[in-house]
Each structure stands twice: as C-alpha cells, then as structure tokens.
C-alpha cells in the first residue's frame, strides 16, 4: 500500500502524518508512507485544502485530520 500525506509543513500536516504512522505500526500493515510537500504534486491531485491523505493514488481526505478510527477504515483495515 502506498500512502501519501499532502501538506506543506503546517502543524496539522505533521499531526496527520504522525497519526497515520501510528495506525500503520499498530495494525502491522506494510505500507510505504511518504510526505508530499511540492505544490505541483499536491495540485496534481486536485487538492486545495491540506492536510490530505492519499492512498494508492486516490484522495481519501482533504482539509481535515480524520480520527484514528477513520484512518483505519480509509486504509481498508478492518
């Protein structure tokens, strides 16, 4: 699974990255997590509000921090 966190370094973006890493670690799934800070790449996803969560190239959430529960669901972990 390829997970990307879009954001240019605001507090909310860091928080989302932390949360995602936490969930992934806890659930023991193998995932490639990366942070996307380049505007061009962010805009290529059509996202206007950061932070955003992209899983396998698909935008799942934009402009807010989902709860750990929601992140689990968005990552497809049951």
């Amino acid at each position: 699974m390829k997970i990307e966190i879009l954001g240019v370094g605001c507090a909310k973006c860091h928080k989302l990255e932390e949360l995602v890493r936490e969930v992934v670690k806890k659930e023991g799934v193998s995932a490639d997590i990366s942070k996307v800070e380049d505007f061009k790449k962010i805009m290529a996803y059509g996202v206007m509000t950061t932070p955003a969560l992209v899983v396998d190239g698909e935008v799942k959430v934009a402009g807010k921090i989902p709860s750990s529960e929601d992140i689990k669901k968005l990552l497809g972990i049951k």
Binding site: M43, T49, G63, K64, P66, D70
Partner: protein
C-alpha cells in the same frame, strides 16, 4: 476563519454527545445573564472591597469580562463550527466559477467568512482558484475576507464593545474585501502571478463525498471549540487583565492626543504599525477597548484591528511563493487604503 481546520469523525459512541449542547447552552446563557449580579455580589460583599477604588474596579472588570467573553466564545465557536461543516473550499470554488467580476467579489467575500481552511492551505487554494479560471480579483476578495472577519474577533468585539461595533466591523470588513478585490481585478495584474502557477494542471479531484450526519457536524463544533478556545483563551485572559489595569489606573484622556480624533495622522500610523504586526485578535481587542475609554478614537482602533488581523507579514511571505513582489505590494496597498478610509470615516462620523 483561516487559522483552523476541522476534524470530522464518525464514532458511533459519540452519538450521545449531541445532547450535551442541549444542556450546556442553556446553562451558559443562565451564567451569562446572572454574571454581572454575581460578580458585583462577590466583589462588594464576599471579598468586601471598597467601592470605587482603582483596585476594586480593576478586579470587578476582570472578573466580569473574562467569563463573559469565554462563554460567548465557546458557544459561538461551536455554532460556527457546525455552520462551517456545510461548506468546503471545493464547493466554494465551484460556486465562484464563471461568476462575473462584481458579483463574484461579493460572493467570494461572503464565502471567505464561512469556508473552513487553514492559513497553510492559502497557496493550494490560490492555485486551485486561479487554475479553474476564477478571476484574480475575485480570489483576492476571498483571501481578504477569510482572515479579517473571523468569529474570535467578532465575539470579542460583541462582548467588549457591543453589537453595534461588531456589526460595523463585519460590514466594513466585508466591503473592504469586496472592493479591494474589485480594484485589484481592474488593475490587470495577472502577469505578476508566478508563471508556474498557470502551468499547473490540476487533477480531477473526485473525493468520494462521505455522508456527513448531523452527529458529525456536532463533532465538528466540538473540535472547533477545542482547537480554537484552547489556543486563544490565554491571550484573552491576559488581554483583559491588561485592560483591567488600564481601566483602573490610566488617567482619562490619556490616549486622546495619541489615538484621539484630533490626531488625523493616527489612522495611517495605526495601519502602518498594524500591517506587519501579526497577532491574534484575542489579546489586543480587550486592550484596545480599555484604551477607547481613555480617549482613543473608534475609527483609529478599528483601523488598527483590521490591519493587524487582515494583513500580516507571515501571510505575505507565504503568498510570495505564488505572487511576484509588485502584486504583493498592490494587494497590501489596496487593502490598507480601504482600511484607512474606514478609519477616517468612523472618526468623522462619531
């Protein structure tokens, strides 16, 4: 308001939470209504301070205004959080697409007040707007209104200055956002946007619209309260404490020569100091309110407030990534001129 993002969560266990406001809001109203009597009773009879002394009046002011403003803030932020959950940057963009200049400016300024977005999203938002063909002037109306008219500033103005000043601030702020955007639109400044902005091809963003229940919206309200109130309460308490000292100890008419009506230069000076200054409204509105009682003019105070909240150096530095310097200068001067007109107008009318 620009600073804060919201979180929606779908936790079934939180279902019961929607009943909490039904209890808490009437409670808050009750405390609010009886606060003045309660504080007077406490100051005059419980801790038994001598009426009319500087210290007594300063304590009275602090004990009354702090809970009043904090209660108001919590309730309003909660309600605004729920209202904001009906809006999003994507919906706003869609609404603004293809709107002619003037109508677009009015819509953009109004949507700027209610659309939730972080100040850190200003760049993607700017690019997103430009990319979908929304005129630059309309985009600027949004960018001016979003930070300037926010619930924290309005609550403080309402609580400390009264509803007239709050309404005045909101309506003139809206007018400044509409007209600055319109003027910038007429100036044909598109060439001062960094070229790479126009080259960006935005992907077709098709986020699956999650079903948002009313519970989720209540949750958004809670999150907004936790986010905002936890951030600003300390500034409010500090600001009111300083204000209380000013109320009690600074002589009448102390500010008249510096920020009074007679000193015409005080309006441009207030704007010149306010623009680079970055502060949240929470701390200095209580101080300004106290200064107003000491002979400062309302127009000067409003101009200072607007320039501090609406324009700030960090925001300019962020925007510099997508705009060339001439555009930033045009942006700041147009908005600053609007603020000064408002300042002069109020000093003249009152």
């Amino acid at each position: 308001m620009a600073e804060y993002c919201n979180t929606l969560s779908k936790n079934e266990q939180e279902n019961k939470k929607k009943y909490i406001p039904l209890v808490l809001i009437p409670l808050a109203v009750a405390v609010y209504v009886f606060l003045e009597q309660g504080v007077n009773f406490f100051v005059d009879h419980v801790i038994n301070l001598e009426k009319g002394r500087h210290l007594t009046e300063a304590i009275r002011f602090f004990l009354y205004d702090t809970p009043k403003v904090l209660i108001l803030l919590t309730v309003i932020v909660f309600v605004v959080g729920i209202i904001r959950s009906y809006f999003s940057a994507e919906k706003t963009r869609k609404a603004l697409e293809g709107k002619p200049l003037f109508v677009g400016n009015i819509m953009a300024a109004c949507l700027g007040i209610v659309t939730p977005f972080c100040s850190c999203s200003a760049i993607p938002l700017f690019i997103g707007f430009v990319e979908s063909g929304i005129p630059l002037g309309v985009t600027f109306s949004f960018l001016v209104a979003a930070p300037m008219i926010n619930e924290v500033a309005l609550v403080l103005l309402f609580g400390l200055f009264g509803w007239k000043t709050a309404l005045l601030y909101a309506s003139t702020g809206l007018l400044i956002a509409i007209f600055s955007g319109w003027v910038i639109g007429r100036l044909k400044v598109e060439r001062f946007v960094e070229e790479w902005v126009y080259e960006i091809k935005s992907g077709d963003f098709q986020m699956v619209e999650q079903k948002i229940t009313f519970n989720d919206r209540i949750q958004t309200g809670y999150t907004a309260v936790v986010d905002i109130v936890s951030k600003v309460w300390i500034y409010i308490v500090a600001g009111i404490a300083v204000g209380a000292v000013i109320h009690g100890y600074v002589p009448e008419n102390f500010m008249a020569s510096l920020m009074g009506k007679g000193a015409w230069w005080s309006v441009p000076l207030a704007v010149a100091i306010g623009v680079p200054l970055y502060s949240n409204a929470a701390g200095f509105i209580p101080i300004l309110q106290a200064l107003l009682g000491k002979g400062a003019a309302l127009g000067t105070a409003l101009a200072f407030m607007m320039s501090t909240i609406g324009l700030s150096l960090p925001e300019m530095i962020i925007l510099k990534k997508v705009m060339k310097l001439p555009l930033i200068i045009v942006f700041v001067s147009v908005v600053a001129t609007g603020i000064m007109i408002v300042g002069f107008l109020f000093n003249w009318v009152y």
